[in-house]
Symmetry: C2
Subunit: 359 residues, 2 copies
């Protein structure tokens, strides 16, 4: 199985993808030991300059490609992290993912991504990748821990390096208060969104929530209540529609809202995609936004400002959320102590054309 690189010049029957040379062959070619090859390549400053040069040159010449699987097996570091995401095609998520991936790449890590569609089974599959050594850590985009309850309840089970993105994971079987997370102040954001509408003179403000199981949605609703209460306006539960952070929820919830006896003059949607569905539905039913009904979104997704009308919304620092998640997770993997588990990033109300004064 010798080939051109080792001197034998007869054409091999079939050259596989690239020269399939390992440390051993490379060491032979360079005339050094495998240990030196490994060191020269992975710990360049632990060998002499000459050695380094010799090895690097040989590696270059034969197009040596280290087998990272073997290295991982030996070092028990896979160099992968896994991102567990309910829906990767969601515009807000994909923005976070993008910066996440970039930040991870900068530190030499790749991102495996698992789109779970919210299916428990699939969460478990991806959560298990750390067990099976395919990944060194996990970024969770949902509020559920990707492990069997049985496992979570066990004392023998310690959570692997893990970071929560934009959510507060909780479990009946495990204290998650120390789980690092990167998010915004959702209560405050919900309050500010509502205050904006109140300032415009709206009193009947409907809400299309995110997944009501999710702490982020509950917190935003909390903020809504706070703002209402501060303005002396009673909370009316019939104005609240349970959604799930999707475009479709925006559509169906809006239809329900339109059936109510007293129509609200404004709708606070807990994500921009829902707002998009909401506006489309309102238009379909003959209502103009914002003239007849104001709509306020959440996230400030990439094209919120290009919609018609451009969307008033709460901007989340997508890029920074992703980056911080990666940084914290990689720090954990490196064994660093995380001083402050909760990273609360600033949000910002973006006032555009989908909201207007009621008179």
């Amino acid at each position: 199985m010798e080939n051109v690189l080792t001197g034998t010049n007869k054409k091999p029957l079939r050259v596989l993808f690239m020269s399939n040379i390992g440390v051993k062959e490379l060491a032979e070619i360079a005339g050094v030991s495998t240990a030196s090859v490994s060191r020269a390549l992975s710990n360049p400053n632990r060998v002499s300059k000459r050695m380094r040069k010799k090895v690097l040159l040989a590696a270059e010449q034969v197009g040596y490609q280290p087998n990272r699987l073997a290295a991982s097996l030996r070092t028990s570091r896979s160099g992968n992290i896994v991102a567990i995401i309910p829906d990767i095609s969601d515009t807000f998520n994909s923005g976070v993912i993008q910066s996440l991936e970039r930040a991870a790449a900068e530190r030499g890590y790749s991102v495996l991504f698992g789109d779970t569609q919210g299916i428990r089974e699939r969460e478990l599959v991806y959560g298990n990748m750390v067990n099976s050594k395919q990944a060194d850590g996990i970024i969770v985009f949902s509020h559920r821990l990707p492990f069997e309850d049985e496992l979570l309840a066990s004392d023998d089970f310690v959570l692997p390096p893990m970071v929560n993105s934009c959510e507060y994971a909780h479990s009946a079987f495990r204290d998650t208060s120390l789980l690092p997370l990167v998010t915004i102040d959702n209560v405050k954001a919900g309050r500010e969104a509502t205050e904006h509408l109140l300032e415009l003179g709206h009193k009947d403000i409907a809400v299309i929530t995110g997944d009501i199981e999710s702490p982020s949605a509950r917190q935003r609703l909390e903020g809504y209540k706070e703002a209402l209460s501060q303005a002396g306006i009673p909370f009316r539960s019939e104005l609240i529609q349970a959604g799930d952070y999707t475009l479709e929820a925006g559509v169906t919830s809006t239809k329900k809202i339109l059936l109510a006896k007293k129509r609200p003059s404004a709708i606070f949607c807990m994500c921009d995609e829902s707002a998009l569905g909401c506006i489309a539905t309102l238009r379909e039913h003959g209502f103009d936004v914002p003239r007849d009904i104001s709509v306020l979104g959440f996230d400030d997704i990439r094209f919120a400002k290009y919609l018609s009308p451009s969307l008033t919304t709460i901007a989340q620092p997508v890029e920074e959320i992703g980056r911080r998640c990666a940084e914290i997770l990689l720090d954990m993997i490196d064994g660093k102590e995380i001083e402050e588990p909760q990273t609360i990033l600033p949000h910002k109300l973006m006032v555009r054309d989908s909201t207007s004064a009621i008179w």
Copy 2:
């Protein structure tokens, strides 16, 4: 380093994440050989029922988790494929990715994704993951092969399992005619899009193209020319604006179009995101769509129909594209012969509200 599982009952100083038991320990516990353990777990039908039962039970009891890295090293199958994508937050791409990932998961594969931002460097990094055995195959979303030209030019280098998604990769150094790809008939789609506008009475039809380097954009333009020529309308290059399949290109190209002496009555955008930017810009300049100018998109992204106006566009079978890409790639990895490298899927013109008759 014995622990509870092996009988010693003193609490270990620190229990690592899960019982760190390997085939060897498991074999001992089950009272069989490591080979049998491996077989029972990976090739259940190659062992007796009793053996299977015994091993599975023991594995269950101790919470055995196979180290997939080790298995991969041994079998030289990583179980990963890598998707090389210019921009993962692009709505069309993320739709394809989603189904791709699902289809891969069904066959036991995970998807590593690399967002390249169109940067050559990063393409090479991800392309190299097959060399380093981290992935078994590649799905390329761009028209560039993710390998150094030097490598491509070399006879010793054979392409790894690879599939092109929605594009025709080409290289000056390598014949890519046999590279499997999954796409639609872009020429025909471009023609049909244009014909739709012609039928509505439009004669001055501007185009905002995709990346002009990309075959898909060229083909769509080809179709545009064909339709024009068939209608006896001369092609005018000043109507063509070079874009790059982004929202921002839609904005800037539209501004340029509006500066022209003779304003077109319709604009054909080669992707929906560009169309979104186009429409927003037209509106900003006081033009109503479709009354003043018709706009036609491409892709039929998830929310095209919810935009205002809802977007007339060419629908691509996103779900099927992703699935087919995965299937073909995995077949290649499994060594199956691919009978037909080109998979051309049907597209469909979706007529909505952003286009209308000129009179």
